[in-house]
């Protein structure tokens, strides 16, 4: 379970202070699929980055399974991200020098999985997202949709507690986007907690709960 209390994020640009998150409270239950929506600049991605430990908030509290994650040291946070969280980025964020298989196996190897097991798991998850035949392709040899599916396979291969997705369909055509959302739907059906930022209402319908943010605050929560 994720508990966020009075989350504040302020950016400093010289002497100018910009408050992007102005005190957000939120709870997400295990197994929930949550979509975060809002207009550009509303603070939805910033909110996701704070929850997913990619950034440090200026104030507030974030607890994941009752662990005060903001109290963790840098290396503990890295380790927490590695074992408990999964990420899908808008631009796929794959490593260009590694094949699809290596991209997926990398976090598993870092978790000290034996090499054989790590690669077996990677193959299993790439097959799950329909890329069983493209294991040894480099990202540059894959389409955008395929790259995003590799990214999803990498994010879920170690069975993360929470899967964070930042506009996963923003760079994709309709067909690829639908395929990605179908994968998310399937993952959610199997109990995966997903928190996804999107600006496309069509895909927010896949979520159980839609959080609407504007001007750094939650302005509405809609249940599907």
């Amino acid at each position: 379970m994720i508990k966020v209390k009075n989350l504040i994020k302020t950016f400093l640009d010289g002497e100018k202070e910009t408050k992007v998150l102005k005190g957000i409270d939120l709870e997400v239950e295990n197994g929930e699929f949550v979509a975060i929506m809002g207009r550009s600049g509303a603070g939805k991605s910033t909110f996701l980055y704070q929850m997913s430990l990619l950034d440090e908030p200026t104030g507030g509290e974030i607890k994941i399974d009752d662990i005060d994650v903001l109290a963790l040291s840098t290396s503990e946070r890295t380790s927490f991200r590695l074992s408990k969280l999964g990420y899908v980025f808008q631009d796929y964020a794959l490593l260009p020098e590694m094949t699809a298989l290596e991209n997926v196996a990398l976090p598993l190897l870092m978790q000290n999985f034996p090499e054989k097991e790590a690669y077996e798991k990677a193959v299993e998850h790439l097959t799950l997202v329909g890329l069983g035949e493209r294991l040894n392709n480099l990202p540059s040899q894959l389409s955008g949709g395929e790259q995003q599916r590799v990214s999803i396979a990498r994010a879920i291969a170690h069975n993360p507690k929470i899967l964070f997705a930042d506009e996963p369909t923003a760079n994709l055509d309709n067909e690829s986007s639908k395929m990605i959302m179908e994968i998310f739907k399937e993952l959610h059906k199997n109990g995966q907690t997903i928190i996804m930022v999107t600006h496309e209402p069509e895909y927010s319908k896949f979520a159980q709960k839609i959080i609407k943010i504007d001007d750094g605050l939650i302005i509405d929560i809609v249940f599907n």
Binding site: Y49, L54, D55, T74, S75, T78, S79, F80, R81, L82, S83, L85, Y87, F89, A93, L94, L95, P96, E97, M98, E102, L106, P107, L109, M110, N112, R154
Partner: protein, 418 residues
């Protein structure tokens, strides 16, 4: 930081990054490291080799492995015949050459001078009385004949003239020294030793980078002995050439144990080196180390720039790696491996070129410096030490920029923010 997991992951990341990097860039960096290696080893090796060539020449062509010479307060080696018998009995000795040595003057224009007022063309020289065969067996003196012929055992009133005593070869003047003009093999000159004058014919010219040879006059020992009236057969120097792999120190000590050091100086070729040569070797070594240090600084700056540019251009991917939970230390180690790879490849190529080509080639074809035949001195121990230094410097130079970039905020790196 250096856990086995981080090292394994660092290697995994480095291997893939090197494999995917531009081949030409990799070759260029390895070439830079190769030339840095050469700068470290070869430049200093030539500097030291410059002197080593001179030292080797004196060793091989004059003193040989062990040299026995007269004590400072004596004109010759007393009991020379007994000493020679001891030397002959030593199984370690391959050959030896006993020499008589006297100071004297040479005059070239005594026949053409028309008046007493005309300045005589006189040159001072060390005059050696040698057994031509024995001397050649020890020092290979005949190799240095550039004009005329080498001495034969039965030659009478014939001499070999050192090239510095011939104006034709001595193309510079310095105060207090004059060379003979218009002389060549066949020319008669007048030799004066201990007020005894003798007219001799130049049989050959000796040209060597060993001053003792180029400034000496050589004649058959029996003749010089008769000129200086040395009927006791006491010689002034004995150069001893040892069989292969015999330690000169051991033979020196055997000779000393036989009491020879009471009547003569017994020295290995190293003991006999003049102090200024030893000082120069030290100075050149220091200079070589200084140049090597500059080479190391250049190498470290090169690697720093290469890794820094690499890390900066890969900042986004470093952010992604950190984002998905790859330990920062593993990423840093990956850059250490990359730096190591470049330094290692450069050093290996350097070693192959150095020991497979450069050193053997320079030994066969020494650089013709005016005072020595410069060789390349690169002892394996010293080379390994320099490679070690290159590796350490390179690794540090690669680690620092990588750490600077890796320590940046993860999200800023992923989003490409400064």
């Amino acid at each position: 930081m250096f856990s086995s997991l981080n090292i394994r992951m660092g290697f995994f990341l480095a291997k893939r990054q090197i494999k995917k990097s531009s081949l030409w860039t990799t070759i260029l960096i390895i070439f830079v490291m190769f030339f840095t290696f050469l700068n470290l080893v070869v430049v200093s090796g030539i500097l030291v080799g410059l002197l080593q060539g001179a030292v080797n020449a004196v060793h091989i062509n004059y003193t040989s492995d062990v040299i026995i010479s007269s004590l400072n307060n004596k004109n010759y080696i007393e009991n020379s015949p007994e000493i020679i018998k001891i030397i002959e009995s030593l199984p370690q000795v391959e050959n030896f050459s006993a020499r008589y040595l006297e100071g004297g003057t040479l005059e070239a224009n005594y026949k053409t001078r028309t008046s007493e007022k005309e300045k005589p063309n006189i040159s001072s020289a060390s005059i050696y009385g040698i057994d031509p065969v024995a001397e050649n067996n020890v020092t290979n003196l005949s190799k240095f004949i550039v004009e005329g012929e080498y001495l034969a055992p039965g030659d009478y009133d014939k001499v070999l003239l050192g090239s510095y005593l011939d104006k034709k070869y001595m193309d510079f003047d310095y105060p207090g020294f004059s060379a003979l003009e218009n002389v060549e093999p066949g020319t008669k000159i007048r030799m004066k030793i201990n007020d005894i004058e003798r007219e001799v014919t130049i049989k050959g010219i000796v040209k060597s980078k060993v001053d003792q040879l180029s400034m000496g006059v050589f004649m058959v020992d029996s003749q010089l002995r008769s000129i200086i009236d040395r009927n006791d057969y006491n010689v002034d120097e004995i150069s001893i050439k040892l069989k292969d792999d015999i330690d000169p120190n051991m033979v020196r000590d055997i000779l000393k144990k036989n009491g020879i050091d009471k009547v003569a100086k017994v020295q290995t070729y190293l003991d006999a080196q003049p102090k200024f040569i030893k000082d120069m070797i030290e100075t050149f070594s220091l200079l070589a180390n200084l140049l090597s240090s500059i080479g190391l600084i250049v190498a470290s700056i090169t690697i720093f720039i290469v890794i820094f540019i690499n890390a900066v251009t890969r900042k986004k991917f470093i952010g992604i790696l950190k984002g998905i939970g790859i330990n920062e230390s593993a990423i840093e180690i990956s850059y250490i491996f990359q730096s190591f790879f470049y330094a290692f490849c450069g050093s290996i190529i350097g070693l192959i070129v150095l020991y497979g080509f450069l050193q053997p080639w320079m030994t066969a074809h020494p650089i013709d410096f005016s005072f020595s035949d410069g060789i390349l001195v690169a002892p394996v121990g010293g080379t390994m030490l320099r490679i070690g230094l290159l590796m350490i410097t390179t690794i540090i130079a690669g680690f620092i920029p990588a750490r600077l970039v890796i320590r940046k905020n993860t999200l800023d790196s992923i989003l490409g923010r400064n």
